[in-house]
C-alpha cells in the first residue's frame, strides 16, 4: 500500500488523536534522552548509555500502546476508535466502498422516490387546506368499486342528521365557460354548498365567501368566487374585480371573492378556478330546482351528484362518525327505494383522498403494503450483494483478523470494527441515496408536469421528513443486514490455520444462496430491460407510422359552447357558425370539427351477396363539413359530408378498407349500413375515404382498426353544450394565425371561450405521454437493476475466485494455461447469466401480455428486443466476470504455493 503514504499528513490533520500521538512520542523520546544523559554523566560511553537507557526502559512500543490504552478506556473512546477503523475502508478499499455505496444508494434512492410519491399522493392534503379533522365520504359498492359521489338529496339528509360530523360540504366538479368583458375562458369549476370555504377553513383574502342565503336561487344572478390564478391572469389582479359582472356558462353572475394563492380546490387534480353555489347554479342550468329524489338515471347531471367532505367534531372520533354515518345511511336506504341498496358509506381522512377518493385512496394502503414487501425484497437482494462484497474482503482480511484476535482483540471488538465499516457504507449510501432520490423525484415530476396540474408536481417534489426518515431507516436496517455475514464469519473463525500458513485455509463452500440471488437479480434486470426495450421500440414504430394524412399544418382549437348555447341544437348551430367565421380568417385553409362517438357495431345492408349479418366493431365519428379537406385527403369515391340537415336518411362516409370488408368487390356508394347493436341508425353511403387515423390515435387498440371509420354528419349526433374541438388547416406563421383565431371566435360570440389551442403534433405528443413516461421510468429502473445485478455478479465471482486462488495456483503449476483458467472462471460466470436470461425471458413473456396494451405495433415477444437484451446482458456480464477471471489467470503459482 505505498500510495497510502501521501495520506499520512492528511490523516494526522483529520484524525482526532494525531496531536496526542505526537506528544506521546516526544515525551518518551525525552525520557530516553534524559536517561542517556544521566548515564553519560555517570561515566558511560554515549553508545553504552543509549543502549542502557533503552534496556532500562523496556519495550517502547508496548509502553506507548499501554498509554494509548489509558486514553481509550471509556466506551465513547472505543466507539470513536471503531469509527476510525471503519473510516479506514475509504482508503483501504475504495472500489469496494464505491460499489457498495452505489448499490445501497440506488436501491434506497429508488425506493424512497416511489415511497415519497405514493406518500405525497396518498397522504398529503391539497395545497392550502389545513387537513386536520377533515373527512371524506365515499360509497363502496358490493363489488368493491368506490363511488366518490352521492346524490344531493342524500347529502342534505346526512348533513341534517349527523351529530358526530360538524359542517359538511357538497361539491361537484364541472367544466365551465367563464366570460367577462375581457374575454371568455374554459375552466374547471366547483359547484359547492355555501358552507364550502368555512368547512375547509380556507380563507378568502379578497372579498367574501358565500352566505347561507345564497344557497337559495337568487334573482340577482349567481355569486362567484374565483382563484388567485384566474384573478391575476384574467383580471390583472385588480381589486375592482369584486362586484365585476361575469357570465358562467352564459348565465349572469357577480364575483364576490378571490381565494388565497395556493388554494385550488380539494383535489390535487384538477385545479379549480371558479366556485359557484350549487343550488342556484343547478336551477339556472337545469331550469328546475334541486333536491328532488329519484333514481340516478332520472336526475339531471348538474348539481345532482356531489362529493362530500365534513369536519369531525372535536368531541367525536372518526370511528364514532363511521358508526353513526353507517346507521344514517342504512336508514336512508330503508326509507327511499331510490337510494342504492348495494352501497355502504365509507369515511376516510381527507388527506388520504386529495389524490382522488376513488379506488386510489382505498387501495392505497394495499398498494403501500405490496410496495413495502417489494422494497424489503429488493433491499435484501442488494444487501446480499453488499454482504458478498464484504465477505470477499473478509476472506482477504482473514489473516489480519486472526492476528488481531490472537493479539487480544475480543470477538466483540472485531465485530464492532466490521459494523463500523458497515456504518460508514450506510451513512455514505444514505447521503448518496438522498441526492439520488431528489434527482429522481425531479425527473418524475418533470415527466408528469405536462399531464397534471402544478399541485401534484408540487407535492411530489416537496422535501419530506417522513420520507427522509424512511430512507435512513432503510439504510441502517440494511447496514445491520449486510454486516451480519462477515461478522458471523469472524465470530466463529478458527485462528490457528490462518496464523500458520497464510491463505492456506479454505473459506467455507461456495454459497448456493448467493448464486441464486445473482440469478434472481439478473432475471429481474432482464425483465425490466426487456420491458423498457419494448416500450422504446414502440415509440420508434409509433413515430414512424404513417397517419395517412399530413398532420403538420393542423391546429386543434377546443371551445366551450356552454357559454353561448343552452341546448344541444343551439350548440351544434353555434359550432357551425364558428366554423364559417373561422374559414374567413386569413391563413386558414379549411375548418371542420368532429367528436367521436362510442365504438359501435356496424352491419352492412342485406342487399349484397354474402354480406348479410356480418357485424363489425368500428370507430364512429360525428363530423362537420369539410372534414376530409382539413385533413388533406380526397374522397376516393363519392363526396364529402356537409352540414347535412334535414335528410330523410343519414348520409355517411366510410373508410376504404371498411367498405371493402362490408361490400367486397362492389361499389359502396348508395349502399346502406346500420349502426348500433339494435341497428338504431340507418345510413346511406355517400362517400369512401382513404384509411386515415383521424384521431391520430395510433395507440388505442391495434393499428389494424385505428384507421377504420364510419363518419356521420354532426347534425345526427347532437350533444349537450360543452367542450368541442375544431380542426383547422393553416398556412403561414403560427404566431400570426393563432391570435387571429381567438379574435375570430370572440367576434362570433364573446361568451364562447377558447379553452385550448395547440398543434396537432403537440396533441399527438400528449397522447403518447403515458408510453413515454412508462419508458423513461422503466429505463431508469432497468438501468438500476442492471447495475445492481452486474455488481452482484461481480461480487460473487470475485469472492469465488479469491477463495480458489490456491487452486488456480496449483492448476497453473500443474500446467494449465492462463487461457484455460480464464475460460473456467468465465464459464462459471456465464452459467449464472444464462440462468438469469432464461428466467428473465420467461418472466418477460408472462408479463408481456399485461404490457401489450401500452405497446404499439409490436408483439410483447418482439424478437429484435429480445435479441438486443440477450446481447447487452451477455456483453455486460462478460465485462463483470472478466476482471476476476483475468486476475485468476494471472495467479503466480510460486507465490501462492510458497506459503505452504
Amino acid at each position: 500500500m505505498t500510495w497510502r503514504r501521501p495520506w499520512t499528513p492528511l490523516r494526522r490533520l483529520l484524525l482526532w488523536r494525531a496531536q496526542e500521538d505526537l506528544d506521546l512520542d516526544d515525551e518518551l523520546a525525552f525520557h530516553l534522552a534524559e536517561e542517556t544523559r544521566l548515564r553519560i554523566d555517570r561515566g558511560a560511553s554515549p553508545a553504552d548509555a543509549a543502549r542502557g537507557a533503552r534496556l532500562a526502559f523496556g519495550n517502547v512500543t508496548v509502553a506507548k500502546e499501554a498509554t494509548r490504552g489509558v486514553w481509550v478506556s471509556g466506551a465513547m473512546e472505543r466507539l470513536r476508535q471503531d469509527l476510525r477503523s471503519g473510516v479506514r475502508i475509504v482508503t483501504n478499499a475504495p472500489v469496494l466502498l464505491l460499489s457498495a455505496v452505489t448499490l445501497v444508494a440506488l436501491v434506497i434512492g429508488g425506493n424512497t422516490t416511489v415511497y415519497s410519491i405514493a406518500h405525497a399522493i396518498l397522504s398529503k392534503p391539497a395545497p392550502g387546506i389545513p387537513a386536520d379533522n377533515l373527512t371524506t365520504l365515499s360509497w363502496v359498492r358490493d363489488d368493491g368499486f368506490v363511488e366518490p359521489e352521492t346524490t344531493y338529496a342524500n347529502y342534505l339528509d346526512l348533513a341534517a342528521h349527523s351529530r358526530s360530523l360538524g359542517p359538511m360540504l357538497a361539491q361537484q366538479y364541472l367544466r365551465v365557460a367563464l366570460g367577462h368583458e375581457n374575454g371568455s375562458y374554459g375552466l374547471w369549476a366547483a359547484a359547492v354548498s355555501t358552507n364550502y370555504f368555512q368547512t375547509l377553513r380556507v380563507p378568502i383574502p379578497l372579498g367574501r365567501s358565500f352566505t347561507e342565503d345564497e344557497n337559495q336561487s337568487a334573482t340577482s344572478g349567481l355569486v362567484v368566487v374565483i382563484s388567485d390564478r384566474a384573478w391575476r391572469e384574467y383580471f390583472a389582479a385588480a381589486s375592482s374585480v369584486i362586484g365585476a359582472a361575469v357570465l358562467v356558462n352564459g348565465m349572469p353572475g357577480t364575483i364576490i371573492g378571490v381565494t388565497a394563492p395556493d388554494f385550488r380546490g380539494t383535489q390535487l387534480a384538477p385545479s379549480v378556478d371558479v366556485w359557484v353555489p350549487i343550488v342556484p347554479f343547478a336551477r339556472a342550468t337545469n331550469g328546475a330546482p334541486l333536491s328532488g329524489r329519484g333514481t340516478e338515471a332520472e336526475l339531471p347531471f348538474v348539481g345532482s351528484f356531489v362529493g362530500v367532505l365534513a369536519q369531525v367534531r372535536r368531541d367525536a372520533s372518526l370511528t364514532q362518525a363511521r358508526a353513526e354515518l353507517t346507521t344514517l345511511w342504512q336508514r336512508l336506504q330503508a326509507q327511499y327505494g331510490t337510494v342504492p341498496q348495494n352501497r355502504s358509506v365509507l369515511l376516510l381522512p381527507y388527506a388520504a383522498t386529495a389524490g382522488g377518493n376513488g379506488p386510489l385512496s382505498t387501495q392505497g394502503t394495499t398498494f403501500l403494503a405490496i410496495f413495502s414487501v417489494i422494497t424489503v425484497l429488493t433491499l435484501m437482494i442488494v444487501c446480499a450483494n453488499v454482504a458478498n462484497l464484504l465477505l470477499g474482503r473478509a476472506t482477504v482480511r482473514q489473516r489480519e483478523l486472526a492476528l488481531r484476535q490472537s493479539l487480544g482483540a475480543s470477538r466483540i471488538r472485531i465485530v464492532r470494527m466490521l459494523l463500523a465499516e458497515g456504518l460508514v457504507i450506510a451513512v455514505l449510501a444514505c447521503v448518496a441515496a438522498y441526492i439520488f432520490a431528489r434527482w429522481m423525484s425531479s425527473v418524475v415530476a418533470g415527466l408528469v408536469t405536462p399531464m397534471v396540474p402544478p399541485a401534484v408536481a408540487q407535492v411530489i417534489t416537496l422535501p419530506d421528513w417522513t420520507v427522509a426518515g424512511y430512507a435512513l431507516m432503510l439504510a441502517l436496517g440494511s447496514m445491520v443486514f449486510f454486516t451480519l455475514a462477515p461478522a458471523a464469519r469472524a465470530w466463529k473463525q478458527p485462528l490457528l490455520p490462518w496464523l500458520k500458513a497464510g491463505e492456506q485455509g479454505v473459506a467455507p463452500g461456495r454459497s448456493r444462496l448467493s448464486s441464486g440471488l445473482v440469478v434472481l437479480q439478473l432475471a429481474l434486470a432482464v425483465l425490466l430491460i426487456t420491458s423498457a426495450g419494448l416500450a422504446s421500440r414502440s415509440i420508434v414504430l409509433f413515430a414512424t407510422t404513417d397517419l395517412g394524412f399530413d398532420s403538420r399544418s393542423i391546429l386543434l382549437a377546443t371551445v366551450n359552447t356552454g357559454g353561448g348555447a343552452a341546448d344541444p341544437q343551439a350548440s351544434a348551430t353555434l359550432l357551425e357558425r364558428l366554423r364559417v367565421r373561422l374559414q374567413a380568417v386569413p391563413g386558414i385553409e379549411g375548418v371542420s370539427y368532429s367528436w367521436s362517438g362510442q365504438r359501435a357495431n356496424v352491419r352492412a345492408d342485406a342487399l349484397g351477396a354474402g354480406a348479410v349479418g356480418d357485424s363489425l366493431v368500428t370507430n364512429v365519428n360525428y363530423i362537420g363539413p369539410d372534414y376530409l379537406r382539413v385533413y388533406g385527403v380526397m374522397p376516393l369515391a363519392g363526396r364529402e359530408l356537409g352540414f347535412e340537415d334535414g335528410h330523410a336518411i343519414t348520409p355517411a362516409v366510410v373508410t376504404q378498407r371498411l367498405a371493402q370488408r362490408l361490400w367486397p368487390g362492389q361499389p359502396a356508394i348508395g349502399r346502406r349500413l346500420f349502426v348500433g347493436p339494435q341497428r338504431q341508425r340507418e345510413a346511406e353511403i355517400v362517400g369512401v375515404a382513404p384509411d386515415v387515423y383521424f384521431n391520430g390515435n395510433r395507440l388505442n387498440g391495434n393499428p389494424q382498426t385505428g384507421n377504420v371509420y364510419v363518419l356521420l354528419p354532426s347534425s345526427q349526433g347532437l350533444r349537450d353544450p360543452g367542450e368541442r374541438t375544431l380542426s383547422l388547416r393553416y398556412q403561414g406563421r403560427l404566431d400570426v394565425v393563432a391570435p387571429a383565431i381567438s379574435r375570430a371566435i370572440r367576434n362570433e360570440d364573446p361568451r364562447v371561450p377558447l379553452v385550448r389551442l395547440r398543434t396537432y403534433e403537440a396533441e399527438l405528443e400528449a397522447d403518447f405521454w403515458p408510453v413515454r413516461a412508462l419508458m423513461t421510468l422503466l429505463t431508469m429502473f432497468a438501468l438500476m437493476s442492471l447495475i445492481v445485478a452486474v455488481v452482484g455478479q461481480y461480487a460473487v465471482i470475485a469472492f469465488d475466485m479469491r477463495r480458489r486462488v490456491r487452486e488456480f495456483g496449483v492448476r497453473i503449476a500443474l500446467g494449465a494455461s492462463s487461457r484455460q483458467i480464464l475460460t473456467a472462471v468465465l464459464t462459471e460466470g456465464f452459467r449464472l447469466t444464462a440462468f438469469g436470461l432464461a428466467i428473465g425471458f420467461g418472466l418477460s413473456v408472462l408479463t408481456g401480455a399485461g404490457l401489450s396494451r401500452a405497446l404499439y405495433g409490436i408483439t410483447p415477444t418482439d424478437p429484435l428486443t429480445y435479441g438486443s437484451v440477450l446481447l447487452l446482458l451477455s456483453v455486460i456480464s462478460l465485462a463483470a466476470c472478466s476482471l476476476p477471471a483475468v486476475r485468476a489467470s494471472r495467479v503466480n503459482p510460486i507465490s501462492t504455493l510458497r506459503q505452504e
Partner: protein, 113 residues
C-alpha cells in the same frame, strides 16, 4: 520480562499512583524526573517499570489529579511537566491514609498481638 535484580522490590499493586503523587508534592516534574526521584528516595530499591509509569501518569491526568504542561528544561529540551492539582493533593492524603491502614492491618496479621 521479569528481570528484577535480587535487591530490588516489585512495586505492590496500586502503590505506583501514591508514589507518583507523593513525588509530585515536591513540585512539578517530568516523567523521567519522577522515576529518578522515586529510585533515589527509595535508596535504589524501588525501580519503576517505565512501561507502567507513563500509562499511570496519563491516567492520573485523566482523573484530574495531576495536570501537565510542556516546558523547557535547563538543558533547553522540551519536556512534559506534571503538577499536582488541588484534587490530587486531597488524593495524596486519602491514599496515604489507605496505605497506613493497609500496612497496619498487614502488620497485625504478621505479628498477632
Amino acid at each position: 520480562m521479569a528481570r528484577t535484580r535480587p535487591h530490588r522490590l516489585e512495586l505492590l499493586q496500586g502503590t505506583l499512583d501514591l508514589l507518583i503523587l507523593r513525588t509530585l508534592q515536591w513540585g512539578p516534574q517530568h516523567g523521567h524526573g519522577i522515576s529518578v526521584a522515586i529510585r533515589t528516595s527509595s535508596h535504589d530499591v524501588l525501580h519503576i517499570d517505565h512501561g507502567s509509569l507513563y500509562p499511570a501518569l496519563h491516567r492520573l491526568e485523566r482523573q484530574g489529579w495531576v495536570e501537565a504542561e510542556w516546558k523547557t528544561t535547563e538543558n533547553k529540551q522540551r519536556a512534559k511537566y506534571y503538577r499536582l492539582t488541588a484534587a490530587g493533593r486531597r488524593q495524596v492524603q486519602a491514599e496515604r491514609d489507605r496505605w497506613a491502614r493497609l500496612t497496619e492491618a498487614i502488620g497485625r496479621v504478621l505479628d498477632p498481638a
